[in-house]
Amino acid sequence: MVNRRALVLGGGAALLAAGCGKDIVVAPPPAEPALLRSLAAERALGTTMAALGKPRLAQRSRERATQLAAALSELGARPHDAPAPEAQADIAAGLGRSRAVLEAYVAALPSLHGSGRELGADLLAQAAGDVALLASSFGFVPDDPFPGTPG
């Protein structure tokens, strides 16, 4: 028979042991703001791709934005809360917005689970491919081994 004192002592030992392991556990951010950030970044990239004369890439960006908006609606969030920035027809803006969209997708992944995680991984891979094609079409061959590293 285990008495209360033994239970409390055992519990204290368990707490101490838990404290000896990993010391920082950062809770992932909630999914809605992370997806809203991805949507805003994707809309910004899409308008810039269109302004830079890349209609096929812009269309694919719009398709990703549509998928993000649908995922947000399913979560009960409002996709219209993501701003739709104005187009910037210069390659520097295009490269900056390319970085921003990959960072947003990478940052969102820990808050996504199940089919949401699958969607996030697929959108990241597709966006990464498209921003590489955008950059290379202007003579910039991507060589960062870790594109999308949160800044």
Binding site: R4, L7, V8, G10, G11, G12, A14, L15, A18, V26, P28, K54, P55, R56, L57, L102, Y105, V106, A107, L109, P110, R117, E118, G120, A121, D122, L124, A125, Q126, A128, G129, D130, V131, A132, L133, L134, S136, S137, V141, P142, D143, D144, P145, F146, P147, G148, T149, P150
Partner: protein
């Protein structure tokens, strides 16, 4: 804090610990698998020139280093693979004798790496490792797109 609260907290910790340990075991296995693929890719690309890509062997060496760092953070390590352990796609690239064969083999290798990283992203439990691995998924997706650029005109 009452004894009952303390006991409840200790019990919750005890119940959660095995799940965390299982998650870390799972993450270790995923990292080891990715390290082997990246070591194979780095070896296969070494010394090869592919017009669409810039320093893929060096990039993959960076991936190996980063993945090993993540594995060490989980108190584990990985044994480097030997040339005989190269996966089939890496071996095909290493042994390709013409530019066309190299290009085709590189597309196959990058497609397999994208698939492997996608699976890893779906399975990883530790947020920091997940994000690091996601950037490597993005890198291989970029390479695949650059190698197949003719398939999607901008």
């Amino acid at each position: 804090m009452r004894r009952r609260d303390l006991f409840a907290a200790a019990l919750a910790t005890g119940l959660a610990a095995p799940a965390v340990a299982r998650g870390e075991d799972h993450d270790r296995a995923i990292l080891r698998s990715l390290i082997a693929r990246e070591e194979g890719a780095s070896a296969a690309y070494r010394g090869l020139r592919l017009p669409a890509l810039r320093n893929p062997s060096e990039q993959d060496a960076h991936h190996v280093k980063a993945l090993k760092t993540e594995l060490q953070a989980l108190y584990s390590g990985a044994t480097p693979i030997s040339p005989e352990d190269l996966d089939a796609a890496a071996r095909r690239l290493r042994d390709a004798s013409t530019g066309t064969d190299r290009h085709t083999a590189a597309i196959t290798l990058e497609t397999e790496l994208v698939d492997a990283y996608r699976e890893a992203v779906l399975g990883l439990t530790q947020p920091a490792i997940l994000q690091a691995v996601a950037t490597m998924l993005a890198c291989h997706a970029q390479r695949r797109a650059l190698l197949t650029a003719d398939s999607y005109p901008p």
